[in-house]
């Protein structure tokens, strides 16, 4: 008799657990999150009708964010960083152009690198180069599998500082010449020194210390600092101009990683907060629930399914409870 009671009690617990599982699963399904993929987070870029170029564009309202954990860069010189624990990423595509919107919390708005001790807030996206036959090392790629890095810098967006702006009382009698030749790095073709490149540098790398500008600079970006948060949107046409750069197309997947530099922490080079690679899925289908029409039906079906699953779960729980009482 005791054995039977134990069996029934166990069955009751299992039924209750099953009910809880069904309720949670139904909720997660409806919310768009997928716990089965928590080890390999997927960022899905759905097509967008509106232009998502601005960080505050309404196109981003319906894009589902994923939270990507960041850690300090470790293990190799120059290590450090880690002051930004997480970054929120969304992606869309519009007219065969990929848009990635990144948002993170940073208490200080570091846009000026006018003084020697000033470092800029910045964020970067890393993709495997089109030529990479294997997944490259997340740490700046490797010789046979390069990476394509898009780096947005707050100081580049703010523009080249004028000494008279930084120090209004500075007296400079004259500059003999202000031709590009005398801005040595600019004359040498260094993108860091080139105001024409804009806020985003398109870079390639094949291991530490090899980071170099890509052959073409067509990545655009804009960042906005508001309420203690940076929001930055990157964009680039799907087609990568050469094999060193990433290439995208609708209905495919690639890898994507993120890095954030916190200027006021002295972050620069390897001293940064970095993520692991996550999956970027470029969806040919629109995000369910957006755009009205058929989507409203999808939503209704989803809601009814959720209610059905929940009802089933509750029913099973009640059944299990009664079974337990009667035995």
């Amino acid at each position: 008799m005791n054995a039977l009671r134990t069996f029934i009690q166990t069955r009751r617990r299992m039924l209750a657990a099953g009910a809880v599982f069904l309720v949670v699963a139904g909720f997660l399904q409806f919310a768009g999150a997928n716990p089965a993929q928590s080890q390999t987070i997927t960022l899905t870029a759905y097509p967008s009708d509106a232009d998502p170029a601005a960080p505050d564009s309404k196109a981003w309202k319906d894009a589902l964010p994923i939270a990507v954990p960041l850690t300090a860069q470790a293990g190799t010189y120059a290590a450090g960083g880690g002051s930004i624990p997480t970054i929120s990423a969304r992606a869309l595509h519009h007219k065969d152009q990929l848009y990635v919107r990144l948002e993170w919390t940073d208490a200080t708005d570091d846009e000026s690198t006018a003084r020697v001790q000033d470092f800029s807030d910045a964020v970067a996206i890393e993709f495997p180069a089109r030529a990479a036959t294997s997944v490259p090392s997340i740490c700046m790629g490797q010789a046979d599998a390069g990476v394509n890095i898009w780096q947005w810098r707050a100081d580049s967006q703010a523009g080249i500082p004028e000494v008279t702006t930084i120090h209004p009382n500075a007296l400079v009698e004259s500059y003999p010449s202000t031709e590009d030749l005398f801005f040595t790095a600019r004359a040498a073709g260094n993108p860091v020194a080139n105001p024409a490149i804009g806020a985003v540098q398109n870079l390639i790398s094949r291991t530490f210390g090899t980071l170099s500008p890509a052959a073409t600079q067509q990545v655009l970006g804009k960042g906005v600092y508001k309420d203690g948060k940076w929001s930055v949107v990157f964009s680039r046409p799907f087609a990568g101009p050469d094999v060193d750069q990433a290439s995208f197309s609708s209905g495919t997947k690639t890898d994507i990683a993120f890095a954030v530099w916190n200027g006021s922490e002295g972050d620069r080079n390897g001293r940064k907060s970095v993520s692991a690679f996550v999956t970027l899925s470029i969806s040919a289908q629109k995000l369910p629930g957006t755009g009205g029409g058929n989507d409203a039906m999808v939503l209704t079906i989803a809601l009814l399914s959720l209610l059905g699953i929940t009802a089933l779960g509750v029913g099973l729980a009640v059944y299990g409870y009664r079974e337990g009482r009667t035995s």
């Binding site: 010189y77 020697v116 500082p161 930084i166 003999p176 005398f182 801005f183 040498a188 860091v192 020194a193």
Partner: protein, 412 residues
Amino acid sequence: MPKVYNWQIGREMDYRFANGPAKLQFAAVFNTNRCIACQTCTMACKTTWTFSPGQELMWWNNVETKPYGGFPQHWDVNILTLQEKANPGGQTWDVSKKDPAKAPYGSFSGKTIFETADQVNNMVTGYIPPEDDWKAPNIFEDAATKHSPTGVSLPEHAGWFFYLQRICNHCTYPACLAACPRNAVYKREEDGIVLIDQNRCRGYRKCVEACPYKKSMYRPTTRTSEKCVGCYPRVEGTDPLTEGLPMETRCMTACIGKIRLQGLVKVGADGLWIEDRQNPLYYLVNVAKVALPLYPQFGTQPNVYYIPPRWVPRDYLRQMFGPGVDDAIAAYMNPSRETLAVLQLFRATQSIVFSYKVEQGPKTGELNVGGQKRELFNDTVIGYDSRGKEIVRVAVDEPVIERPSQVAMNTI
């Protein structure tokens, strides 16, 4: 981490890169005793290299008044403090371990700036001097340690100051080069000049942080760091003035006080200077031992050598130039005939002197220096260029020319 030999500290040390092949090395001797801090060198450099927007606070050459002055302010005290904190009480020399070529000043028992760094977050112990530290390049000019109302006398002045002339040391083991995560800093094999590749620099300022002499400087208008280029077109001989022959830098040749001599010395794959007895720099540094490196204990093997000021307290000078100070001052106060002759080569020509010869002349007088009798001879030093051709000839006795009493009007 590779081991390299640093003869200035008389021992092997850790460095990020192994020694390269044998090469020529940019080197100079500065005679602090003769400097009047006119800053002509400073302006010669400024008007040649750093006159553009963003370079306002940049002085690749500067002359600072020690002990209080510094550009950037307190640069040396700050590094010494960081090193002392990393190795409390251990930054000492073992002068019993001397070797004429491999350890002329003994062996440094402490840690270099490479050896106190963790090699993960930093390759080199250092700091970034904030902007304010660079704003007053000539702060504390002519400020003595105290007022000496009754006057001062050798060997050590009670109240003292001296001028320290500083450019990039084009170190044999540059800290800036070791610190750059992008390998944008490089050292040229042909002359050992250390340069920052302005195409590759991304303005991380790791070199500014690492250079113990603070001769890498940040330029906000290009977001990169720049440094003294050793006037490499002149050293290469591409300046039209010398018709293809190596020429000394702008700061050297502009020197009013004739305190500077610059050239190229031969360095072996082991980091030691290859014997070159008749090279005036080799002679002054390795034979006469009258000129010493600046803060050799940092470990970068700097290549500007200083004849220490003979009136300054020796403990201060030993901290700055190492344990060779007493011998160097003795060799300068009572120079040999050869040393006195070689000192005449300072600023005698713009072309780099690759070798010299001394022709002995007649005795011209006697002196009593510190109780020691010294004889004076009017010897002549002859300097030769890279092809072995005579380019300069100077006698120890400066010729005295009496002007006729009747001189043209309006002349001085």
